[in-house]
Symmetry: none
DNA sequence: TTTCTTTGTGCACGTTCTTGCATGTTTTGC
DNA sequence: GCAAAACATGCAAGAACGTGCACAAAGAAA
């Protein structure tokens, strides 16, 4: 019995029934439960199932429902980034959070026992925070843009102008030590600029593919970044540039 | 029986019927009530349900006012109402839609090929419409109120004031032919009043338990209702009153 | 062929998780 | 106010789990 055969059987069984039991698989394959557990661990690592006590279940449909191509590896990376990014939070703070899948992951990673005031123009972030009892949630309305999952426009700008925040979690941007933070869309950039202007510090959690890239619209100067959350594969030369400009580097 | 299976069953049951009983779940699963209570505690910790004495109910934004009433029959009734309510729409119209489970059902029932401009302060309605390609969606931001699932406050009022709509889908209210439309919350009523003021006509889809009830805060006069969508069990005497006041009655 | 490395597997051990029971507390209905 | 039901908490037994290690089979290098 090849390992791959077991994998395929598990995948099929999950698709058909939604769950598998470790003990049942072991007796069916004629191997020890340890081997089955190793299989499950391996498949879980690539997001093909979710391990639970006693076996495994089909993965959450959450990934499929949301935006873009986000491979399973990128999900894990974003989750690690999100957990590290939450580390810069302190109870009682006021935050701006804008759009992007990384920011949605961060919002979902905020623990239930932290007291915060959060203003966001992202539908995903709003949904993620809507249930947290200690979060005072302010929705920044405006024209909803499907492709971004956020609100933009004059109404959004007006709402931002009335608020001030300790930290601004800035998402889905290009990031370059000389050009600073840049966005791909004009209206989006306007809102980000307003949020940056009304915040004491900017937090950016960047997957490694965002580093050293630039987009047309300028959002913030490179020295405006207070916290930069990256994974351990980020080139140290680039990080050194940001550190020199005053950013605090956090590794996921 | 995996723990996760019990979780899933509870989630499904809550979505369908709005409530679960600890004792009933225990006998169905073949485990002790202690285990069921532990499950409920766990799900409550992540906001997936709200614990009550004897079991649990669906979390705030969806439970709204009617906890015991929303059996699977009530869900079906709301679906029928929603389909009928969509009948009053015409392509090219501009709508206000506020909160409530009935309005969320209506939003989900809007077909993909209708061109509309929709302004809403409800998170559920926003989520329902976010994917429709022909709907220009305007999010009315403000302070998010967990129990209502909507935004209220001065910012919301200001955003409403800048817009005008053909129809206002008014939800989760008391409804009485002499007192008109009434709401349970002061801030909520303010927003509804503003929407009513800036709309040419009001549409109300009411489950039969809403008819001939009243709440403290006045929202609109009884003769402001243009379309009233009810099921066939609605008392004809009450409907006659509304019809005399100028409402058009639609049966689901 | 012989030797070494790689990979997959099973076993032993300690750890963590789940569960039912016992106990004491809180809530509900009368 | 009282009794019963529902609940929270601590505890112990057992199941499931992770890890390190040994062993065997397959292939590569000498």
């Amino acid at each position: 019995m090849l390992t791959e055969e077991r994998y395929q059987f598990i995948r099929d069984r999950l698709a058909a029934e939604g769950k598998v039991l470790a003990g049942e698989l072991a007796s069916r394959f004629g191997v020890s439960q340890d081997t089955v557990r190793r299989d499950l661990r391996e498949l879980a690592k690539s997001g093909q199932l979710r391990r639970v006590y006693g076996g495994a279940v089909a993965p959450a449909p959450f990934a499929a429902a949301t935006i873009g191509q986000r491979g399973s590896h990128a999900v894990e990376e974003k989750l690690r980034l999100a957990k590290a990014a939450v580390g810069v939070l302190a109870s009682g703070q006021t935050l701006f959070i804008d759009g992007g899948t990384t920011n949605e992951a961060i919002a979902r990673a905020i623990p239930r026992d932290v007291e915060l005031t959060v203003a966001t123009n992202s539908l995903g972030v709003t949904s993620a925070l809507a249930d947290l009892p200690l979060v005072e949630l302010i929705v920044l309305g405006g024209r909803y843009v499907r492709d971004l999952g956020t609100c933009v426009g004059g109404d959004t700008l007006a709402a931002v102008a009335q608020l001030g925040a300790d930290l601004f979690f800035l998402g889905s941007c290009g990031l370059d030590a000389s050009r600073g933070v840049t966005a791909f869309d004009s209206a989006e950039a306007e809102v980000k600029r307003a949020m940056a202007r009304n915040s004491a510090g900017i937090v950016i959690a960047a997957t490694s593919d965002k580093l050293a890239t630039a987009a047309p619209y300028r959002v913030a100067a490179p020295d405006a970044i207070r916290h930069l959350v990256v994974d351990k594969t980020a080139p140290s030369a680039i990080l050194a540039d940001f550190e020199r400009l005053g950013a605090e580097i956090h590794f996921a």
